[in-house]
Every structure is written in structure tokens, then in C-alpha cells.
């Protein structure tokens, strides 16, 4: 078997090939290591020199790429920030431990927006990540490195985190599958925090089966994370081909050109809705009355928590320390030098929102909006199995086109933030191309409905027949511009 053949396998296929003996763990690791070490997308911030000792387990010998912000013992874990440059933690995040116990091997750490704050991966202290579909464009964020690495075949799969869309949006922009599970399904212990009440780890994979396989090994109830609850039932590998009897709600607030969703993205979305109907699903337009305020609430709550979570980076114990003549100047200079502009912006936003005299008007009110949005979803799921939306309002945009316009950048998360606020699970699957670039279709379900979501996604995936392999060859090769005006959603 050639290295090219080996990396063509999905992770689930690789598991089978390894089990049959068609492939050795060493070969597989070497094939990916070579690609990851030689990549030109800036997707990795660190690549393993050699495969660590592998534990016996169901995923034995399958490499995995891990977003930079997961603490991995002795390995750089910098959360995309200069303030943690070179930081090697003395312990490993629970979710990474879970995967190691399942037999995976750590291939490398992937680039990300600094402290997971961003939608383009341009906020990384280690440079932007390029989208393998078009290197002039962003891969989305904040998990841009993980998403680009999976899309370009630099890793079989990757784990990442989603706070307001940081898994789903880059999955959409890179033409892969990304899932944010129910808040609490996966332990946050060892995940360098952005916004504690929203951060949730999940898989980025080439297909829905891999997403189920990886997620199943990530989930756990962790005594070290009081907010972790695991899942009431184990994740199954999805096998659904039909959507008979499935009721899909299409929220007016999150699916329309008036909401800033590009025509090409809308076209792909509507095409997928027709596919769903053909598979037996019923469709109804519905309302999530408070969803349109989601972004505003999110940009109060997430920065508020971040302003506190990031207070520990003070130069005293670890990471960057800038010289200061006294304590206050040590603090200010370290944080001045260590944090990038977007992080500073959000720390200031959050600090302001929590200040006495402003707390009720900002943080308090945003919490109320959050409760209302959760109620909206709760009521919706009494009538619908799933709520479906386009994942991101646009396809991958040009590098540098939105960096100076934070509001335009924030709108990337318009369709993904409401589920984050509600704490409910959602998946993004690739559902076609617009202008030759992938689009994403989001399926959101009630809390703990991961298996049902994966089944529905699996049925749609089969019918859509999206071919993501065209981004493969572009991971480690000079840029080739994508064909403009490529055909619409494939397989339709």
C-alpha cells in the first residue's frame, strides 16, 4: 500500500485496514507525519517527531491532530497566543487522555485563533491558516488549523473546540464535518478556556461516520470538571439512509438573505432541504423569536467570561514575562506584549460588561436573552426533531478582508451562536459548493440527541454525495486557484 492510499482512508476505514493488517500503525503515522511536517497551510503549530507508545484500544494506531488549546503534557500548548509561546503543560487534557486510552497517536497540535477568539484564524500569534480549497482564503475559525488539516488530508481527523461556532463554521468553510456536542458531554478539563459556559470540544472529520467514531471516544463524565455530565447513551455509528417521519424546522431568523446569508449559500441550503424531503423528511418554516439577539448576547457573555479566564496570564508563573520595574508594570507590559488585538478587545469588552454599575445592563440582560433562546429551542424541539440552518452565512472569504471590521467578522457566527447559548448539540456537514467553495448545512437537535443528529446527517451525507477529496492534494503543494463557477452542490 502506498502512503497516498493510506491517507485516502477515512479514520473508520483506517481502523478496519489496521485490524485486517493491510496497514501498519507505523506506516499510517509516517504517511501523515510526512504530510503534516511538510504542509504549507500553516495548519500545524507542532508536529510529533515520532509516534508515541500506543495504548491498546479500538482506535489503536490512528493518528489524531489536536487543537493547540488542549493541554498535552510536555508538548507546546499555546492556545494560539504569544503569551503562552513555548508553554508545555505538566498535564494532559481529559479528552486527549480519553483518545490516547482509545489507542490514537498524537500527530500534532493545530493552529487556531488566539484563545479561540476569531472566525478566520487570522488572530493566531503563529500566523494565519490557509484554506486548502483556495489559499487566498481563510479556513474559518477559531479551529482553522484543525479544519484545514482534515480537509487537506494532513490528518485523518482532529479534535477542536466550539464556543460560538468554532468547530462548525471552519468545518463549513473547509468542506468537512464538524460537531459541537451538548454542553457537558465532553470534559473541559485541560482545555485552555475562552468562555467557560460555552466552550465545548468536538470532532472535525472527513465524514459523519468518523465524527461519530471520534466523538464516542471523546465523551466522558469527568470528576475533574463539575460541568461535565457525559451522555446518557453511548454514541453509535450512524447507519440511517432515510429521514422518514423526521420533522425539520427552518427558522426564519437564521435562514434568509435578509439575515446576510449569501445567495450561493442559500441555494445550497435550499437544495439540501429538497434532498431531505426526498428522503422522507417534512419541512416547516418556524420561528426562534430571540435567536436574532443571540450574537449580541454572545458578545457580552463570552468576553465577560474571557476577561476573567485570561486574568491568569500575568507573567508571574508561566508563559511570557515582560520586564517591569514594579508589579503593575510587569502585569501591564506582559499583557500588552502577549495578547493580540482581538483578545485585548474582548478583555476590555468583558471587563466593561462586568463592571459595577453596568453589570445588570450588560451581563445580566445577556443572561436573560440566553435563557430566552434556550426556551425558544426547547419549544421548537417539542414540534420538530431538528432545526436546520446554513452553518455560515458565506463561503470562505479572502485573507485580510474582514480583519479590520470586527462586526463583519462576528456575523460569521450568526447561525451557530444560538445553539451554543442554548447548550444544545449541532453538526455541520458539507452540502455543496458555491463559487467552487464549500458550504455547510447545520442540523441542531435537543440536548443529548447526538445519535439522532448523526443519523440524520449520515442519511443526508449519503444523498448529497459531497466529494471533499479535491482539497486533499492542496495541503502540501503550491497553490492552484480553484475553478470558478464550479457546479453547484454535487450529487444533486
Amino acid at each position: 500500500m502506498t502512503a497516498t492510499d493510506a491517507v485516502a482512508f477515512t479514520a473508520a476505514q483506517a481502523v478496519d485496514a489496521l485490524a485486517r493488517g493491510d496497514l501498519s500503525a507505523g506506516e499510517l503515522f509516517a504517511a501523515y507525519r510526512e504530510r503534516a511536517a511538510g504542509e504549507e497551510l500553516n495548519a500545524f503549530t507542532w508536529v510529533a517527531e515520532e509516534a508515541p507508545a500506543v495504548q491498546d484500544g479500538p482506535l489503536k494506531g490512528v493518528p489524531v491532530a489536536v487543537k493547540d488549546l488542549f493541554c498535552t503534557r510536555g508538548v507546546p500548548s499555546q492556545s494560539g497566543s504569544r503569551i503562552l509561546e513555548g508553554y508545555r503543560p505538566p498535564y494532559t487534557a481529559t479528552v486527549v487522555e480519553n483518545l490516547e486510552r482509545a489507542g490514537t497517536t498524537l500527530l500534532g497540535k493545530t493552529n487556531q485563533d488566539e484563545f479561540a477568539m476569531g472566525s478566520s484564524n487570522e488572530n493566531s500569534a503563529f500566523g494565519p491558516v490557509l484554506n486548502p480549497w483556495d489559499r487566498g482564503r481563510v479556513p474559518g475559525g477559531s479551529s482553522g488549523g484543525s479544519a484545514a488539516a482534515v480537509a487537506a488530508g494532513l490528518t485523518p481527523w482532529a479534535i477542536a473546540t466550539d464556543t460560538g461556532g468554532s468547530i462548525r463554521q471552519p468545518a463549513a468553510l473547509c468542506g468537512i464535518v464538524g460537531m459541537k456536542p451538548t454542553y457537558g458531554a465532553v470534559s473541559r478539563y485541560g482545555m485552555i478556556a475562552f468562555a467557560s459556559s460555552l466552550d465545548q470540544a468536538g470532532p472535525l472529520t472527513r465524514d459523519v461516520t468518523d465524527a461519530a467514531l471520534l466523538l464516542g471516544h471523546m465523551v466522558s463524565r469527568d470528576p475533574r470538571d463539575s460541568t461535565s455530565i457525559g451522555l446518557p447513551e453511548a454514541i453509535r455509528l450512524p447507519d440511517a439512509r432515510r429521514l422518514d417521519g423526521i420533522r425539520l424546522g427552518v427558522p426564519e431568523e437564521l435562514s434568509g438573505e435578509a439575515e446576510g446569508i449569501e445567495p450561493g449559500v442559500m441555494e445550497a441550503f435550499e437544495a439540501t432541504l429538497r434532498v431531505a424531503q426526498e428522503l422522507g423528511a417534512s419541512l416547516e418554516t418556524m420561528r426562534l423569536p430571540h435567536a436574532e439577539h443571540g450574537l449580541s448576547a454572545y458578545y457580552v457573555l463570552a468576553p465577560a467570561e474571557a476577561s476573567s479566564n485570561l486574568a491568569r496570564y500575568d507573567g508571574v508563573r508561566y508563559g511570557l514575562r515582560s520586564d517591569g520595574s514594579d508589579l503593575v508594570s510587569l502585569y501591564t507590559q506582559t499583557r500588552h506584549d502577549g495578547f493580540g488585538p482581538e483578545v485585548k478587545r474582548r478583555i476590555m469588552l468583558g471587563t466593561y460588561a462586568l463592571s459595577s454599575g453596568y453589570y445588570d445592563a450588560y451581563y445580566g440582560r445577556a443572561q436573560k436573552v440566553r435563557t430566552k433562546i434556550a426556551q425558544d429551542f426547547h419549544e421548537a424541539f417539542e414540534r420538530f426533531d431538528f432545526v436546520v440552518t446554513p452553518t455560515a452565512p458565506t463561503v470562505a472569504f479572502g485573507l485580510g478582508t474582514k480583519v479590520h471590521d470586527p462586526l463583519a467578522m462576528y456575523l460569521n457566527d450568526y447561525c451557530t451562536v444560538p445553539m451554543s447559548l442554548a447548550g444544545t448539540p449541532a453538526i455541520s456537514i458539507p452540502n455543496g459548493l458555491s463559487e467552487g467553495l464549500p458550504t455547510g448545512f447545520q442540523i441542531a437537535g435537543p440536548a443529548f440527541s447526538e445519535n439522532a443528529i448523526l443519523d440524520a446527517a449520515h442519511a443526508l451525507e449519503g444523498a448529497i454525495g459531497f466529494d471533499g477529496s479535491r482539497a486533499f492534494s492542496r495541503g502540501g503543494m503550491p497553490s492552484t486557484p480553484p475553478e470558478r463557477g464550479a457546479p453547484g452542490p454535487l450529487g444533486l
Binding site: 493541554c71 460541568t227 465577560a304 476573567s308 486574568a311 508563573r317
Partner: protein
């Protein structure tokens, strides 16, 4: 004008849990620096807190002891500020939903009791031991994350002495509960006082200052006294008290301002998102209630009621539980010994000999003290002899009757034995005898002195006086 001090206390008590408030590090005192740490209590990126259930249990017991209203759930907030002893940049503490609200201990109303984590220990290298003039500072995170109960009283205290007394009651209560070893020297109890004064007879509160760093019971009393005096002097000289935080230096007895108002913090409290609110289940309440021992105030009332002790004796025994334990053991070992004299011997003579140490650890067996007090009551030994016997018990232990006999400390038994000695004394002091007969009792001392000399102090003074009067027909 006369002024009345108004004092409230804020007490931080380190709870005696096995592990820290939010991580599994063991709590020990005196370990080498930074050897009791983990990612959680070092505030490393990605680490998360988990509430120590034992600390909640201790908090509930403390609230129950004070009759507080117990919160239906335990909720934590983040108190945000930067300081090198605070590795996360925030302290996890309780804010608007303290675990215990209201209540009373002794004469003092309790405002609230809440749980939080302790900061690490900052050691300033340099002569003064304070941050501003030190050349560098080092942090020891062993203490960081220790569970603390912050107990806030209402301003019900009126003097430093009363504050000291009340704090003793609090210490005993917490020790009895077993929630803390409450050792001020090791820093497991720290006390700040909010102090103001007002003209006697008025009810409006004056401007208060917060006095910090009173790390012993003595310094608490002295510090408050000094600050009250400072405020009164200020007001009498036409000045005004400024609201500020003050530092009391026990060595110089000087009070200095710690920080100015401009540096007042906005702590940006918000609910700790890493911890879910925990409902206080009935089972937790039952467990806490089941673990409640008899508390000092209840014990004092019982000692008064059951044994007819004076209020003062009952409190002295109950507020130092080890004395109460010794007293009750002694009482139980000897059905005949009267309670009040026994109480006096425990709180008076015995404490005078063993100080602050636990009489249970001394060589004096409770049954021995009871026997000695019984001998005194039966006049088998006089006070002086009994004190000497107690010296021997404290030094070597043993049985009092044997000591009294061996050392010849026993009282001269009965009239017959004394009679001859008294006759001799009267004969040798004829002048004195005549004066006494004439109604002047002053020379009785001379007669007594003679008898005591002759009996080597074993005679009972009262008995001698009685017999002298009888013989002289007075």
C-alpha cells in the same frame, strides 16, 4: 462627651478538611514551599475547580451552630483582581448567596458565613517584610486554595476585651464542631475588625475603619483599644474619621493606613461558570446535623442547670472545652464531690499550674482532683495542704490521700489533738489571750501563728479560731 465603640468582626477560618477547597492537594502545615500544588491550585491554563464536599459539610455545621438560615444551594462567584498570591486572577468565593445567613453566637449576631479559597503565601524578601520596600517577593502556593469560612458579625461588640472574649467563644465552638483547629499563630484564624465610635446614647453609626492583621487574641484586644482611642482623640480634637483600611503593628502598637480609597477595587463579581450550583440535599443537612456535638453555649447552660454552677464557672468550663471535659470526668468519678468547689479548683488552682495546656494531657487524673477536693471539703486537709498536694499531682501524678499522708499535709484531726496545742499557745501568749477575752480579736493572728508553727501548717485556721474563742469564753 463620652463615646461608645461599635465593633464588628470579619473572621477567616481555615477549615480542617483533608484536601483543598477546589482540588485534591493535601493540606499540611510546614511542608517545603510549593510541594502541595497541582494544576488547579496553581491556576494553570485549562485546569478546573471541583468543590470539596467536606468544606460544604463543615460550612453547614458552622451555620447550624449559629442558628443561621442555610442556603438552599451552594453557589460560587468569581472575585476578580490581580495579585501574585492569586494565581487565577480571581478568587472563587461566595457573593450574594452565602451558605449561611444570619444567626447568633453568644451575645453577638452573625451577619453571614460564606466559603471561599485562601490565597497563596507571599514572602517579601527584604528587611521590612512588606511589599513596597522589599527587593523581591516569592510565592508559596501550598496554602493557596485552602478552604476558608468567612464569618462576618453584626456590629454588636463594644470593646476590645469583649471582642477577645467572643473570639474565644468562636474558637471553642469551631473546635468543638471539629471544622477547624483554629490556631491564630499558624494563621488558621485571621481576624479583621470594623471599628467606629459614636456619642454614648446615640444610635447612628459613625464612620468605620477596617483594622487588619491582628494575629493573636491579645493583639486583637490591644489593636481595637488603640484604634478606638485614636478615633476618640481625633473626634475630640475636631477631626473626622476617614473610612480606610488600617494596619496594626503589635510591636510598636502603631496604626498605619494600608491603602487609599483611590485604589478601591471593582471586583467584577459574576457567577463562577466552572462550577454548577449544587442543591443542598436533605441528606447533606441530616449528615451535618448528625455530626453536631454539644456546643459551648449549650454546655454552659447545662452545667448551670445540672450541677448548680455559677454562670461564670459554667462559662469558664464550657468555653474551654478541655476544662469542661476534665471537670465532668472528675465529677463522674466521685459521686460525693461537690460541683462548685470542684469547678473552682479546675478553673483556678489547676489552670494556674498548667496554663493553656489540656489538663487531660497532664499527670493529674480527674479522679485524683475529685478526691483532693473531697478531702478539702471534709476538712481532712486545709487549703494550703491541698495546694501543696496539687503541686505534687501536677509534677508526678499519684493519689492525693497517699501524698497528703506521706508528706504529713493532713489536717490535725479533731478537737483533742488541737486542744493541747491551743492551750500551749494561749499560755505562751497570755497578753494576746487577755486582749481577745476583752473583745479585741486582733491578736488572734499571734495565736494562729503559734498553732500553725507547732502543727506545721496542718491545722485548719477556722477550727483553731473557733476553739480559741470557745476556750476563752468569747
Amino acid at each position: 462627651m463620652k463615646y461608645e465603640p461599635v465593633i464588628g468582626l470579619e473572621i477567616h477560618v481555615q477549615l480542617g478538611t483533608r484536601t483543598k477547597m477546589f482540588c485534591g492537594c493535601e493540606l499540611t502545615f510546614g511542608e517545603p514551599p510549593n510541594t502541595r500544588t497541582c494544576p488547579v491550585c496553581l491556576g494553570l491554563p485549562g485546569a478546573l475547580p471541583v468543590v470539596n464536599a467536606r468544606a460544604i459539610h463543615f460550612g453547614l455545621m458552622t451555620g447550624m451552630a449559629m442558628g443561621s438560615e442555610l442556603a438552599p444551594r451552594s453557589v460560587f462567584h468569581r472575585k476578580n483582581y490581580f495579585y501574585p498570591d492569586l494565581p487565577k486572577g480571581y478568587q472563587i468565593s461566595q457573593y450574594d448567596e452565602p451558605l449561611c445567613l444570619g444567626g447568633r453566637l453568644g451575645d453577638v449576631r452573625i451577619h453571614r458565613v460564606h466559603l471561599e479559597e485562601d490565597a497563596a503565601k507571599l514572602v517579601h524578601v527584604g528587611a521590612s517584610g512588606r511589599i513596597h520596600s522589599s527587593s523581591s517577593s516569592v510565592v508559596d502556593f501550598n496554602r493557596g486554595g485552602t478552604p476558608l469560612a468567612e464569618i462576618v458579625t453584626e456590629p454588636d461588640l463594644r470593646s476590645g476585651e469583649q471582642a477577645r472574649e467572643w473570639l474565644t467563644l468562636l474558637r471553642t465552638t469551631l473546635r468543638q464542631l471539629g471544622v477547624s483547629d483554629v490556631n491564630m499563630e499558624e494563621g488558621s484564624l485571621r481576624c479583621d475588625a470594623n471599628i467606629s465610635v459614636r456619642p454614648e446614647g446615640t444610635t447612628e453609626l459613625g464612620t468605620k475603619t477596617e483594622l487588619k492583621n491582628m494575629n493573636s487574641f491579645r493583639f486583637l484586644e490591644r489593636g481595637i483599644r488603640a484604634e478606638v482611642a485614636r478615633q476618640i482623640e481625633l473626634l475630640e480634637s475636631g477631626g473626622e474619621v476617614v473610612q480606610e483600611t488600617l494596619h496594626y503593628d503589635p510591636r510598636s502598637e502603631r496604626i498605619t493606613s494600608m491603602r487609599s480609597k483611590e485604589e478601591a477595587h471593582d471586583y467584577r463579581y459574576f457567577p463562577e461558570p466552572d462550577l454548577v450550583p449544587v442543591r443542598i440535599e436533605q441528606a447533606m443537612l441530616d449528615e451535618a446535623r448528625g455530626a453536631m456535638p454539644e456546643l459551648p453555649a449549650d454546655r454552659a447552660a447545662r452545667l448551670e442547670r445540672e450541677h448548680g454552677l455559677s454562670e461564670a464557672s459554667a462559662k469558664q468550663l464550657a468555653f474551654r472545652a478541655e476544662l469542661g471535659d476534665f471537670f465532668e470526668a472528675a465529677l463522674g468519678s466521685d459521686g460525693d464531690v461537690p460541683a462548685q468547689p470542684l469547678a473552682h479548683w479546675v478553673t483556678g488552682e489547676l489552670v494556674a499550674r498548667i496554663g493553656d495546656s489540656d489538663p487531660g494531657d497532664s499527670r493529674v487524673e480527674p479522679v485524683a482532683l475529685a478526691a483532693l477536693v473531697g478531702m478539702v471539703e471534709r476538712k481532712e486537709v486545709n487549703q494550703g495542704g491541698a495546694r501543696q498536694a496539687l503541686d505534687c499531682l501536677v509534677a508526678d501524678g499519684g493519689e492525693p490521700r497517699a501524698i497528703v499522708e506521706a508528706q504529713g499535709l493532713g489536717a490535725i484531726g479533731g478537737e483533742d489533738e488541737l486542744s493541747g496545742v491551743i492551750d500551749a499557745a494561749l499560755a505562751a501568749n497570755a497578753d494576746a489571750a487577755a486582749k481577745i477575752q476583752g473583745g479585741n480579736e486582733k491578736p488572734m493572728g499571734a495565736i494562729l501563728g503559734y498553732v500553725m508553727r507547732e502543727t506545721k501548717g496542718r491545722a485548719d485556721g477556722g477550727e483553731v479560731t473557733r476553739l480559741v474563742r470557745e476556750k476563752l469564753g468569747v
